[in-house]
């Protein structure tokens, strides 16, 4: 049977891994290639790299990092950050990415989802959304969570699926960095609406949080986290053993 996936996420700026809390207060952590290798032998099911570089030089460094990782690590790699055009898909796919995650780029130009799906297949297009409660409504934010788009998150998820997104990353801004658990309410609401794999992000602080996530929202296929893995608060190996002992199917 198919397993639940555990996915560490690496935010990369100028060729280095960083991780913030509530998207602010970013601080340097480690070398992306070394960290990726470490995660691979620890049992990560795939890796997500977000390019949060602003400069062209930084973007070049990111591509170099990606190539180095793809030459040594043979598990799925998803790349996101600054993906605004089909050419951007091309640029990262050529360096060894398997899937490309779109966020603000798709908000600006929603046809990017269908164009990319037509060219590279649905399996290649991951719609990533940063969501926050505004007046009790799940609302999509753009630009790394800084800009309220006013868009309804449930409608956006449905639009993404209809237009060819093969997977959905739901990142709750409300729970991100707080380490109090995944946003079960938000994930359940979105899970009701779509039938593509959902990757939950934002809020993981303990192994129990993953257990609760997979048991309460069966439609969630994967749990994504950054800082708890980077700072070795949870070892992926231990997490997977723990989940297996709790009757959740994982790859060990």
């Amino acid at each position: 049977m198919i397993t639940k996936r555990i996915i560490p996420c690496l935010d990369v700026r100028d060729g280095r891994v960083v991780k913030g809390t509530n998207f602010e207060g970013i601080k340097d952590v480690e070398d992306p290639v070394e960290l990726a290798k470490f995660y691979n032998i620890s049992g990560a099911d795939e890796l997500v790299f977000y390019d949060i570089t602003a400069s062209a030089e930084g973007r070049g460094l990111f591509v170099d990092v990606l190539k180095k990782v793809a030459a040594e690590i043979f598990i799925p790699l998803t790349v996101g950050g600054s993906i605004n055009t089909v050419d951007d898909f091309d640029r990262v796919l050529k360096c060894g990415a398997d899937k490309v995650s779109v966020n603000s780029g798709a908000i600006k130009n929603p046809s990017l989802i269908s164009e990319a799906a037509k060219k590279y297949g649905n399996q290649c297009v991951v719609l990533s959304m940063d969501v926050k409660r505004i007046d009790g409504k799940f609302t999509v934010f753009a630009k790394g969570g800084r800009e309220n788009t006013g868009m309804d998150a449930l409608e956006w998820a449905v639009f993404g699926e209809k237009n060819g997104a093969g997977e959905l990353v739901v990142n709750s801004i409300d729970t991100d960095g707080v380490k109090g658990g995944f946003d079960i309410e938000m994930l359940s609401a979105i899970g009701e609406k779509v039938n593509i794999p959902i990757i939950a992000s934002g809020g993981a602080g303990s192994m129990e949080h993953f257990d609760t996530l997979f048991k309460t929202v069966p439609k969630v296929d994967a749990g994504l986290a950054a800082s708890i893995f980077h700072y070795r608060q949870i070892a992926i190996k231990d997490l997977k053993t723990y989940l297996k002992n709790n009757n959740i199917e994982v790859r060990i």
Binding site: I2, G96, P197
Partner: protein, 198 residues
């Protein structure tokens, strides 16, 4: 040397890197003189069947590959590359495949989500050279919405996704994996290693 067939579909960087990683020489090519010199052939592929089939037919590359397979060269199709080996596919219409393995490609019939994305375990149906370094129950990485059916004679290993998904298939020297060995960690590398030793 292994020839990885380049016919304009997909990213071949990971596949060639994974072969290099386990010490297998390979070249990404669509040139007949190079394919002819290679002692093994890998047909990769992602995307839609009909598009890939059309690209493969360009300049008669499809006929050339059928001829090469007919000479008994070890031949491995991966993902869509595996699906292309069969008689026909029903992905958006009906399309003829290379006809190297008996069977057809149909949408996955399951109550679970489509596409089938993620790590699933293999159950062996019979012994095969490709599986000599892996064991029953090992996990491999799948990404697909269609699968091979009516190919019982060719089944080497299957995965359970609410239905039996053909994971590894073989007809004589022609074999295929529906999953991506180049994305299936150590298990995948061990399958490629075994292919390299055939």
């Amino acid at each position: 040397m292994i020839a990885i067939i380049d016919y304009g579909v997909g990213n071949l960087f990971s596949l060639s890197s994974s072969l290099h990683n386990i010490g297998l020489e390979c070249v990404v090519t669509n040139r007949r003189e190079i394919i002819n010199k290679a002692d093994k052939i890998i047909l990769p592929g992602v995307g839609a069947f009909s598009d890939a089939r059309k690209l493969l037919a360009k300049d008669g590359l499809d006929e050339y590959l059928i001829e090469q397979a007919g000479q008994g060269k070890p031949f491995l199709g991966i993902c869509l590359g595996m699906q292309l080996l069969f008689d026909k596919s029903f992905e958006y219409g009906e399309h003829k495949g290379l006809g190297l393995i008996k069977g057809e490609i149909q949408p996955i019939q399951t109550q679970f989500k489509i596409p089938h994305i993620g790590w699933n375990s293999l159950s062996f149906v019979k012994d095969d050279l490709l599986t000599k370094y892996i064991k029953d129950g090992d996990f491999v990485y799948y990404v697909h919405s269609y699968c091979a059916v009516e190919c019982d004679d060719a089944l080497v290993a299957v995965s359970d996704y609410g239905t039996k998904v053909a994971g590894i298939v073989r007809n004589k020297n022609v074999c295929g994996t529906q999953f991506h060995p180049e994305k299936s960690g150590e298990v995948g590398l061990n399958i490629l290693r075994a292919f390299g030793e055939i």
